[in-house]
Symmetry: C2
């Protein structure tokens, strides 16, 4: 008898019919003799609807009350899934974050799980019940409801799997698994049967949307094996675990065109100037990605970095102040860029991968704007219009092309649309 | 400094705009120096929407999971109201039934409040915060979420007012208060400035929908003074309290055309036959109202009673069995009836009120089908088509006519519709 923790995203719960389909999967697990925990997200777009409602009454809703509001989304899902299981003749019990013993820090809207008291979940499992837990939420020691922030439901599932010492943690979503590249852009992309935690982390950071980084980090720290698969098919998905086979040099290629390149021109090149600039930027709580400082020329230097396009407006005033203060020339923003990343744990032991990447791009007349690397990743910034050409060329050059051209499985139009919206990497 | 408990129904919270209006009222109470608790219902028709969703996945959803689902409606409202107050610059904190210390019995879907631990509410009030509490819900001692059944939010408010020893409990809804009769049917109906608990109970039982009986009973038991008023005007409403003035002979006239008259014809008139019939009916958990057993004729008797039309189908098979068993002739159902009730505490000390009622009806050519009385109420069943004529005649005869003809206040069409749906008595 295995203990399986599953997680179902909003798309798998968007309608009463899908709730029943999800229940059917859980019933099958149980009838096969397993103990079953399901962590659920809010139905479809209901979290967005609640957010819109909140902003209608208060453009800046207090964090505690926002958590109170948003946590209802998962509560609705879990009750419905439990009802649907009962309709199929098995016993189920739904639990709020609090009831499932998920204790968090007090940072509303992006709380961290500090402890899980699994006693009540255990008791229900031992009584033969399927346990449905609200994802994305917990409770502080003083009894206030918290939410875990974006991707919180994945994290809830992984944390519960760790606390319960589950045999497997299955993350159901609307994509079939992790691909060598976005199959909508590179039709010869193939689904990876497995990938290591560290590669998954790099791919997620580089723009692949299948799993949330936090959840992967949690899984890695606690050794929870993940299985990312589709709620709309029976195909096996991608296992995320410690590397069990020799690593590929390049496992996957990700892209991200949601960032803007920020350049501060003609900064007087004095000691500590970068520290000054980025100190200010950090104080605005903005994510900074690639940073390049050009070599000094006539005592002036250009500083560039990338940042999510959504954060740019929040940053602009700040940077203009900095420019005035240090006596730089001007601010240039470019949101027509794409960041292309190749990721592979095998890079560590294979020199020259970055050079090979640059060569492939040069052969295809693609200019490289910025470069950054980690031990298992090389990222470049290019013109957004050249994204597909770059991905296709690199995918072929690094031997990732599948024999078959990617075809969508038999999903409904709506499901395909949902898939398309998320199917990166 | 007074402590005021207010309750806002779903209509007063149906849109973001109305949530803000409700918040404005609470802010005004607080700024006048009062401590303020608001008990809120779910927004508009959201409870019905959740119920429909539940039935889509399971026609008979488990009671515990239904409570889990329905309780989210009030949680959404309370968070939004707290946010709207924050937007107006005051501090508010929302609390689930659990956080507000509302402990209930374990009977899901119709739990009774067993205890209220007001400590957390008190602390928040003492810190100057407006406290928003989810109505309709509580928690069992073992931590399961319960709901209190229909009209539960009124009960939550009254119970909280009792536990907090509040100075006043204001029940805001979409009607202006309690009327001498339904103003849509009898335009000369007048709003009562006050009414005693016992009269309010009788009126509510007789079909007046302004307040839930449970809440009135609770208020009576704990001596909580209620003020029923409209969330859409500044007019004073109706106070419900122990009689402070000499009671009117007839305070109000109610009607109810939602019942069906059930007649079992030609029952062999043996001893205990009524007990047998009603014993069976009681086992079906159906509400029985007026009961009439005609005098025996040739050893046979007719037994009639009224019951909510919605319960009739559930009852039919059972009664047909009883008919076969006791050898009665047939079952006759008549849903084209109306029950008319006159209520007044002054009846106790004034004989002949029932006779006067019958005389008025006779003078207006209205046949009486059934009669039942309590110490302060006389009810008759008549042909539904004669409802308005009966109400108008009785209203005049018992001196209830206002000098002015009732006019709707300046409400929107939607509000008038909502009002019309609820504005009885």
């Amino acid at each position: 008898m295995a203990l399986i923790v599953t997680k179902f995203g909003g798309t798998s719960l968007a309608t009463a019919q899908r709730v029943c389909d999800t229940a059917r999967r859980l019933v099958a697990y149980r009838q096969a003799g397993n103990q079953v925990v399901a962590v659920v997200s809010a139905m479809g777009k209901s979290t967005d609807d609640l957010l819109a409602l909140a902003r209608d009454v208060n453009p800046q809703p207090p964090a505690r009350e926002l958590d109170m509001l948003l946590s209802t989304g998962e509560q609705v899902s879990m009750a419905l899934v439990a009802m649907a299981i009962a309709a199929q003749g098995l016993e189920a019990v739904s639990m709020t974050g609090r009831q499932a013993g998920i204790v968090t820090t007090t940072t509303h809207n992006r709380a961290k799980i500090s402890e899980i008291n699994t006693e009540r979940v255990r008791r229900a499992l031992d009584a033969g019940r399927i346990v449905i837990v609200a994802g994305f939420q917990g409770v502080t020691v003083s009894g206030d409801i918290t939410t875990l922030g974006r991707g919180g439901s994945d994290t809830s599932a992984v944390a519960l799997a760790a606390a319960l010492k589950a045999d497997l943690c299955e993350i159901y979503s609307d994509v079939e698994g992790v691909y060598s590249c976005d199959p909508r852009v590179v039709p010869r992309a193939h689904k990876l049967s497995e990938i290591s935690y560290i590669e998954m982390l790099e791919l997620a950071a580089a723009g692949a949307g299948v799993l949330q980084m936090r959840a992967v980090e949690f899984a890695r720290n606690f050794g929870v094996e993940l299985h990312c698969r589709s709620a709309f098919s029976e195909n096996p998905g991608t296992y995320v675990r410690e590397a069990t086979v020799e690593s590929a040099i390049v496992s996957g290629i990700a892209y991200d065109n949601s960032e803007t390149k920020v350049t501060i021109r003609k900064v007087p090149d004095s000691k500590g100037i970068a520290a000054k600039v980025f100190g200010e930027v950090a104080s605005a709580n903005v994510n900074i990605d690639m940073i390049v400082q050009n070599s000094s020329e006539d005592g002036f230097t250009d500083i560039s970095f990338t940042t999510p396009t959504g954060d740019v407006e929040r940053l602009r005033g700040l940077i203009e102040e900095v420019i005035a203060r240090v006596g730089a020339r001007e601010l240039i923003l470019d949101d027509r860029i794409s960041k292309i990343s190749i990721v592979g744990a095998g890079m560590r032991s294979t020199p020259g991968i970055a050079a090979r990447m640059f060569k492939v791009l040069a052969e295809n007349d693609i200019n490289i704007g910025m470069i950054s690397t980690s031990a298992i990743r090389v990222s470049v910034v290019i013109d957004e219009a050249q994204t597909q050409r770059a991905l296709t060329a690199l995918h072929t050059a690094f031997g990732l092309d599948a024999d078959e051209v990617f075809e969508e499985t038999a999903l409904s139009v709506e499901e395909q649309a949902a898939k398309a919206a998320k199917g990166r990497a």
